[in-house]
């Protein structure tokens, strides 16, 4: 009995800890700027003020568009490449594959500060400086380790007998991929796409260093700038934060199971 009480007390306190910030964001976003006073921080708005969202939407719609374009393109490219790489590493181990794989994986753990200076120069030299395509290239390349890892672990579960059967039927490397492996890959793709979508949407360091012109800014950079300004009224950053959070939040709420699988795959063995 005491155990039960304790259990639900812990759950209640934890829920407060996790949801109170959400409550505060929502009520602040719906308050008139003049109604945001310190003593009434926790109270519901007297008048529900939708203006914050129309303002935030006007400011952020182009940035959201940038983020969608960047995220979707880079996610699809890195997922496709990861699928092919994972297929090779799981089923066609070439000599040296066991050395190459950890070297690839290391790439997903490095602090990007250790590559940022040459990367910045490189992207500028190939003429993609400041553009979204430069950012897409960077996200595809640094996304390769995790997408390759997830697909490799996923394809390792496909029995070798199926590959062997394909070979006996006369299919080669590409035939086996397109007729046997790829059709079985849907759950793998869902995990990888959700993971990459979340990561790239939320990313900040590359976005803030590689994209110079405000017109190409992804949403995270725009939000950080808006909230970082000193003179802001807090209803606007809060509405902006909600807009920036919504896409990944919806993905999480509707496809949470796959999201968690990607999360656990990050600890290598999966």
């Amino acid at each position: 009995m005491i155990g039960r009480v304790l259990q639900y007390t812990v759950l209640f306190i934890a829920t407060l800890f996790f949801l109170l910030p959400v409550y505060l964001v929502i009520v602040t976003a719906f308050k008139e700027p003049s109604a945001i006073t310190l003593s009434s921080t926790w109270q519901l708005p007297q008048v529900w003020y939708w203006e914050s969202f129309t303002q935030a939407w006007t400011a952020f719609a182009p940035k959201l568009q940038n983020s969608f374009f960047l995220t979707i393109t880079a996610t699809i490219l890195s997922a496709l490449l990861g699928s092919l790489n994972g297929y090779v590493l799981a089923k066609w181990k070439f000599p040296g594959a066991n050395i190459v794989f950890p070297l690839m994986l290391f790439g997903m753990f490095i602090p990007y500060q250790a590559v940022l200076i040459p990367l910045f120069q490189f992207v500028r030299e190939i003429g993609l400086g400041g553009s979204l395509w430069g950012l897409i290239l960077v996200h595809v390349v640094y996304g390769l380790p995790i997408t390759t890892l997830i697909f490799r672990n996923y394809y390792a579960e496909i029995p070798d007998e199926m590959i062997e059967a394909g070979r006996i039927d006369g299919a080669g490397f590409f035939g086996i991929y397109s007729r046997i492996v790829f059709p079985l890959s849907v759950p793998g793709f869902v995990v990888v796409i959700i993971w990459q979508f979340t990561q790239i949407w939320n990313e900040f360091l590359f976005a803030v260093t590689l994209v110079s012109s405000p017109a190409n800014q992804p949403i995270t950079v725009a939000l950080a700038q808006l909230a970082g300004g000193e003179a802001v009224k807090w209803n606007l950053p809060m509405a902006g934060a909600l807009l920036a959070a919504l896409p990944t939040l919806l993905v999480y709420i509707f496809l949470g199971r796959y999201f968690i699988r990607g999360l656990l795959a990050g600890s290598v063995k999966g």
Binding site: F18, W42, P95, Q113, V141, L223, V268
Partner: protein
Amino acid sequence: MRWFNNKDTLYGFLVILPSLVLLGIFVYGFIFQTFYTSLTDWGKDPAQALSANPQIRFIGFENYRELFTGLVDSRFRQDLVNTFFFTVFFILGCLVVGLGLAIVLDRSPRGEGFFRTVFLFPMSLSFIVTGTIWRWMLQPEGGVNQLPTLVGLPKGEFAWLTSREQIWQVSWNDLPFITALVVSAVLIFIAVSAFRGGERRRGYIASGSAALLLLWAFTLGRSLQPLPYDEPHGFNLAFIGIILAAVWQMSGYTMALYLAGLRGIPEELREAARVDGASEWQLYQRVIFPLLAPITLSAMIILGHISLKIFDLIFAMAGADNAPTDVPALLMYLTTFRANQIAKGAAIGMILLLLVAAVIVPYLYSQLKSEVRR
């Protein structure tokens, strides 16, 4: 190609080759280039900024020497100390909260799915979003400080992100000595557990290194003075708010790891312990926690490398220029892209890389080794 046993393996190699080349350049090539840059004076000479073809000279490890012992770079040294405390408390917070929630959820309360969703949703947010939210909550007169007034208590007075208070101060000159002591303590612990587990060789190596390190610490280490004066560094209380926000965001991750681990423990094992008369607490202490130890280790490593790299959360919460909440990852950005001290920024990037590699390389090695053995 006789190295490839058939044509298909060759195709496989050719398919993966572009990715390997790209990663080779973007990871290893660029790391090497950063390392080289860190050995130059790029950004030190004002004339370089003005000329189209700047003269960049090789100066060896001068940038590193300045960072650790130079007069102007005391901010970097404080940043290292900041990262250390942030890492320790962030990992501790995530482990405790995550384990607690996992244990409660493992006992299948009503509404388990709802609670799981609530505890994990911050993981799907950007650190920028989290930072923006908590920046607002932690304003000196903001939501968190107003919280006690809801139940009739006086409001909180803590300045959170802008606090300049520092506790647990240690002189930078004492750090080599203290580090040696701590590392020796860890080595002795490893040695003791190795001897207990019957791994003699490992025990001898660990205890031998501990003895050597202690010898060094009490002879040379005590007299090694990086700075000619005492420079105190400590735990900035402004980090408490950042730790709070980071735990809010990431403890769902440890919860998910622990919950998966707990669900993997067969019910028979718990039953057997109960039949043997173990109390609920003994069951956890003797049976369940030891089984969760490998998960704790991986969680520590994954969280540790995240916390060493933490950048966006602090950028959004406290701004890039808030000195009390600075970390090397942020300082690298400021040094390189704001102050144009490119070589010094590169040196900070390399130091970060070394710190992360020290955590990640052994982890990757052991993970992949055990995979081969399987």
